[in-house]
């Protein structure tokens, strides 16, 4: 009986490995390899990060200051990663002087950001995630053109992230719960609850037609903290680790 169980264990592990091997987080447009060598200039668009503080009483709140700081850090790290790969990097910023020059720019950017958020939501809902390299086709459409023109970039870098940080009360509750479960199950089961967590999606978008050429995100099995600069640095580094340097393709 024991032998059978062990054998079953190996079979299950083998199946799991086969499944996991097909679940890489990177998605590429079918034309990525032909488009990538043409990419010279990239523009890092303002990231959108949401961080929530989970409170024991349920009055969760958005951490606006931390969100702003994380957005700055994500942007700086993205710029840095692309510079390291020899691309010319332009930053795009919506500020009052730009709005004064072009009153529609704010609304245009707001719409585009929402569209990107929808695409990422689709991705997380498995609709796009199950697409493999061969058929990965998602597009933001021609709305990206004006931003690509403004920045003179070949591709635009879009990013979005979300995370949470538990309050002290919530952490105490989780710790107590783990302890009680551990004691009552006789040590067979000790769940570990994360005190924080976060994920980031990064997309390289074609400035001509808005198609997502390359997309990657931080995997769910790693715990990151969006309120911590070092953690953000690791996230961006790991997401772009396999992105080719200029001229590498």
């Amino acid at each position: 009986m024991k032998k059978f169980n062990r054998c079953g264990y190996f079979v299950w592990m083998g199946m799991l490995l086969v499944l996991v091997s097909g679940c890489g987080t990177i998605r590429k447009h079918p034309d990525f390899n032909t488009r990538a060598p043409e990419i010279r200039k990239v523009a890092v668009m303002p990231p959108q990060i949401v961080i929530e503080r989970v409170a024991f009483k349920g009055n969760n709140e958005l951490l606006y200051d931390e969100m702003q700081a994380a957005e700055k850090k994500v942007r700086a790290d993205l710029e840095n990663e692309f510079q390291k790969r020899q691309y010319a990097v332009n930053a795009f910023e919506i500020n009052e002087s730009l709005k004064a020059q072009d009153p529609e720019v704010g609304t245009e950017w707001g719409k585009l950001k929402e569209k990107y958020a929808h695409l990422v939501a689709d991705f997380c809902n498995q609709f796009a995630a199950k697409m493999k390299y061969k058929d990965f086709r998602l597009s933001l459409g021609s709305d990206v053109n004006s931003f690509a023109d403004r920045t003179g970039a070949d591709v635009l870098i879009f990013s979005t992230g979300s995370g949470f940080v538990n309050s002290g009360g919530e952490n105490t509750k989780n710790f107590t719960k783990s302890l009680l479960i551990g004691v009552l199950s006789g040590g067979r089961m000790i769940p570990i609850y994360n005190t924080h967590g976060g994920t980031i999606h990064v997309s390289v978008v074609d400035g001509d037609n808005g198609e997502i050429l390359w997309h990657n995100f931080t995997p769910a099995n790693k715990v990151y903290d969006l309120t911590d600069g070092d953690s953000i640095h690791k996230m961006i580094h790991s997401v772009l680790a396999k992105y080719p340097a200029k001229g590498a393709l």
Binding site: K57, G58, E61, Y64, G106, N145, S185, P191, D208, N209
Partner: protein, 462 residues
């Protein structure tokens, strides 16, 4: 279903599982029943919402605990509004905002709220049907709501309903209630989940409690929604609107539920009483107050439709961007019905059909399964061809109405490109660039032209 009964059913099923998977030992059963009794007591205490002592906004002297809660809610709301501003989430149209403020003015005056806080209506760029009242006096209506309403009386009903939430400080009571329920459920979780671990059912316990919690904390609560409906009816009748027409708004929501698979529409102003029940309660109120209700009240349908035409048209685009194609078609059809000579409405309808063939997965997610089955039963290639033809015919209709409306030529170019008719595609793309040489999307058109140029070269390759 009211939260209490929902909780009991789920907990009873949890109890059964515990007993079955646990033991036949009487002592253990006794312990479980003790646990359940405690849980039920806690849930009942947590879910109880005392609304008998509500202090409306035009009354001061709030109890100290509620004052603190109100300050906290106000602070959160101000931060949230700033965030929305920064995110460019609002739809800007001064004329529309002025009109909405005009509709709301009599209610603000009548309830005395205009002396307390400035009430304003803002439009959020969101294609779903929803509205929210903020403690600062801002009522945020989604563009999707304005696009779906049919008369000013319906709008008045929704706005007065939202004013009721501000007037009765519902968000403050909601926050107090949320905290109470959350603490209750988390305490239960702390007791039940480790106990269930004894029988290997901690995951089940966590999941069940999570579901109960989720259903118990959404919305303002049954009483608040019902009283907001009646408050709204009273106010709109006083302002001379026809309440029978206004209540027809519920039909819009109910029809939505039949036609679509999911969406906030089904959830709108939701919480616990269903839209059917709320409609019945409103009709009962109208019947009971027959003397006060004018036999032919105001509906101002034409005025409303004219003032909201622009946002209705924009909402087609918002739906399209969110891949809600059938919602977008409904908005476009309504706009065409209202203004059959508007080229832009036909253009948008053409854009919807152009996008649909590539997004069948999204359509499946959007519409009710019966509608999806009808689509699915058709041969995919025929369906695609049908939609592409429709797209071209609507672009052509738009060109007929406004020959200089340049985006149609771009659309026709894309349609012919998709069909593989590159000669025609090139012709239309060039026409577009001729009419709009500085178009913001010229880069994508140049890309199409470049791709077309490359096609014969590709064909020449061995």
């Amino acid at each position: 279903m009211p939260p209490d009964s929902c909780s009991k059913i789920s907990l009873n099923s949890t109890a059964q599982n515990l007993t079955i998977s646990g033991t036949n030992n009487m002592t253990m059963r006794f312990r479980i029943s003790h646990f359940l009794s405690l849980a039920l007591i806690l849930i009942t205490a947590g879910c109880a919402t005392d609304r008998t002592d509500i202090k409306p906004l035009n009354e001061s002297n709030l109890p100290m605990n509620l004052q603190t809660e109100e300050d906290e809610v106000r602070h959160t709301v101000v931060q949230f509004q700033n965030y929305l501003e920064k995110q460019e989430a609002f739809y800007r149209d001064e004329a529309l905002e002025k009109y909405l403020d005009e509709v709301i003015a009599p209610f603000a005056q009548e309830s005395g709220l205009d002396q307390k806080i400035p009430l304003r209506v803002k439009v959020l760029r969101d294609p779903t049907v929803n509205a929210m009242a903020l403690m600062t006096g801002d009522i945020c209506v989604h563009s999707g709501l304005l696009a779906r309403l049919r008369s000013e009386s319906e709008l008045a009903f929704v706005l007065a309903h939202e004013i009721s939430h501000i007037y009765h400080r519902d968000s403050v009571y909601q926050m107090q209630n949320l905290k109470r329920k959350t603490v209750t459920f988390k305490t239960l979780d702390l007791l039940f989940t480790p106990a269930a671990a004894l029988f290997g059912g901690s995951g089940l316990s966590e999941m069940t409690l999570g579901l109960i919690y989720g259903s118990a904390v959404s919305g303002y609560g049954r009483q608040a929604e019902s009283s907001a409906d009646l408050f709204a009816l009273e106010k709109i009748v006083k302002a001379g609107y026809d309440p029978r027409d206004a209540v027809g708004f519920f039909d819009v929501l109910l029809a939505e539920k039949k036609r679509y698979r999911r969406g906030i529409e089904v959830f709108f102003l939701s919480s616990h009483p269903s839209n059917e029940r709320r409609k019945t309660a409103c009709l009962r109120w109208i019947q009971e107050n027959e003397k006060a209700v004018p036999s032919s009240g105001l509906t101002r349908q034409e005025k409303f439709l004219a003032r909201t035409y622009g946002v209705r048209l924009k909402n087609v685009r918002f739906n399209l961007d969110a891949a809600r194609y059938f919602h977008a078609l409904e908005n476009a059809d309504l706009a065409i019905k209202q203004n059959p000579k508007d080229a832009e409405a036909y253009f948008l309808k053409a854009e919807i059909y152009q996008n649909m063939p590539d997004k069948l997965e999204k359509i499946k997610e959007e519409i009710a399964s019966s509608r999806w089955q009808k689509i699915k039963s058709q041969e995919p290639k025929k369906l695609e061809a049908k939609w592409r033809l429709k797209s071209i015919s609507f672009y052509q209709k738009a060109v007929e109405l406004a020959p200089d409306f340049s985006p149609c030529y771009r659309g026709l170019g894309v349609s012919y490109f998709q069909q593989g008719d590159y000669g025609k595609a090139k012709e239309f793309f060039e026409k577009y660039l001729g009419l709009a040489p500085q178009a913001k999307d010229r880069r994508s058109v140049l890309r199409y032209l470049k791709d077309i140029e490359a096609i014969p070269a590709k064909g020449a390759q061995p």
